[in-house]
Amino acid sequence: MSIKEADRVLPVTSGESDSRREKRSVVRPSRAKQYEPIVIGTLSVVIALTAWQLVANARIMPVLFLPGPNDVAQAFVKLFQTGDIWLDIGTSGAELGIGYGMAIVIGLVTGLLMGWYTRFQYALDPFVNFFYSTPRIVLIPLFIIWFGIDMPSKIAVIFLGALFPIIINTMAGVRNTEAALLRVARSFGASDALIFRRVVLPGSVPFILTGFRLGIGHALTGVVVAELIAARHGVGQLIAIAGQTFQTPKMLAGVILIAGTGMLLTTILQRIENRFQAWRPQIR
């Protein structure tokens, strides 16, 4: 529904006989409307790719400067034909999985504790603020000294990158528990443990998942940048080498691989978020 149509949607009356509040509109929506997001989205991508292809085909610039989508697609296929790519994907994937996984577990626990225990928050706030406002990329040289150029240094960067958005959002979720709900729970004599499990935690879920989602972006940045600087294998390393050896289509194929991963993970988390939001009335 567009903003313009908003005024054609009738306000819902507070009639107590309605079992559910439903979205209403004065005109019967056409069947095609429900596919609009997909159709328009696909069309705009197709148009953009076509335009890119046409400009590339004109060959104003050599392939090195401006490869067309077909060149990138060819490079992409070639990557998977040789099979070397699986080592890179495996390496980056493992780094991402371990680093991000650790960030989720430790970030969630730390965030919940900081939200729930004010004094714990006072103690950790300086560190969280320090690391969150420092681009963690600058620590890569230190991690390479500590852990070498293999996976552990990458894992450290990814972990630190994803950790702080998760901590900060989780903490905000706990802190944002509605005072009225806490009062109700206390009035019924709820124990702290019950308040935490039944009121605070479920209320924080949207915040926590947002933290996870932001964490993915930071984690992916960490993978690529850490591998650009020094690595033996990995998709970031592939991008770096392809760039340095003027294989622009291959480089872009690597970029698409990273972007695709990010979009996929974000979509999965978005789905999970929606599952937890069944109680929200649809306002779309």
Partner: protein, 273 residues
């Protein structure tokens, strides 16, 4: 000396708040003396900000009293307990739980009932407050009046000895409020629980209560009290009864003296004078 026959007994109750921004101690109520008899429906009215809600929170045990004594069945009130249940002004429902899930939340928090029993009894309670068929609806799908029914059912399910109601209908539109008053009386007449009802609505207080207590302006204390001798069951027509209007005049005059604005500067024809 606490009155032995009383359900709730307040003697010289004072409640103070520390205001963080003003860095000052604030006295909400001071020297409150009142009793609630077993099975009685008592309403407290007073000008806004007179500390009546604060007093109710102390009865619930959510906040401590600074001086005096506050006893339920002769025992000091120090913390919330299963012998009291509050119906809040804001429904305070868990948005991610259905009506059924919210109704059982009170007993779940108290840990006094098995889950199966809670669900069975909750369904009866939901029917009693007129929400049959809405067990699986989420709070955000309900109107304000229906949310307050859930709020009421949650309190009733804990089967308290005393029901505390903090302006539960204040946020509802006029018609819904009248319907809810009628239904509250119906439910109350079936359970006959001792009830302490806070409101700023004089008609509401008279219509519901056996006795109405007027609070002074802050720091609040009991200014006067009035037995309401209107026969029960009461339907909404009782609000036009001459006796009802006499009570209303009396309470209104009493409150008027407490308002910061002098009476002669009030616009003529404000509440039913």
């Amino acid at each position: 000396m606490p009155d032995r026959s009383a359900k709730l007994s307040a003697n010289g109750v004072g409640i103070e708040y520390w205001l963080h921004r003003s860095k000052a101690l604030f006295t909400a109520v001071k020297g409150v003396d009142l009793t609630v008899r077993p099975g009685e429906f008592l309403a407290i009215v007073g000008p806004s900000g007179c500390g009546k809600t604060t007093f109710l929170n102390a009865v619930d045990g959510l906040i401590p009293i600074a001086e005096g004594s506050l006893t339920l069945d002769g025992r000091d009130i120090t913390k919330p307990g299963p012998d009291r249940a509050m119906v809040f002004q804001q429904p305070g429902l868990l948005p991610w739980r259905t009506v059924l899930g919210n109704v059982i939340f009170g007993v779940e928090a108290q840990g006094t009932m098995s889950k199966d029993e809670a669900i069975t009894r909750a369904k009866q309670q939901i029917e009693l407050v007129g929400l049959k068929g809405f067990e699986d609806a989420y709070p955000l799908e309900l109107s304000g009046g229906m949310q307050q029914r859930v709020n009421l059912a949650r309190a009733l399910l804990t089967d308290p000895e005393m029901l505390l109601l903090d302006e539960p209908f204040a946020a509802l539109d006029a018609q819904t409020r009248e319907m809810m008053q009628l239904e509250l009386l119906k439910i109350w007449s079936q359970t006959r629980k001792t009830a302490l009802f806070i409101t700023h609505d004089i008609k509401e207080a008279i219509y519901l209560a056996d006795r109405v207590i007027v609070f002074t302006r802050r720091p609040g204390r009991v200014k006067n009290e009035l037995e309401i001798n209107l026969s029960r069951p009461r339907d909404l027509r009782v609000k036009r009864d001459p006796q009802f209007l006499t009570y209303e005049d009396e309470i209104w005059e009493s409150i008027q003296e407490e308002l910061a604005v002098p009476a002669e500067r009030l616009i003529a024809g404000m509440p039913a004078a």
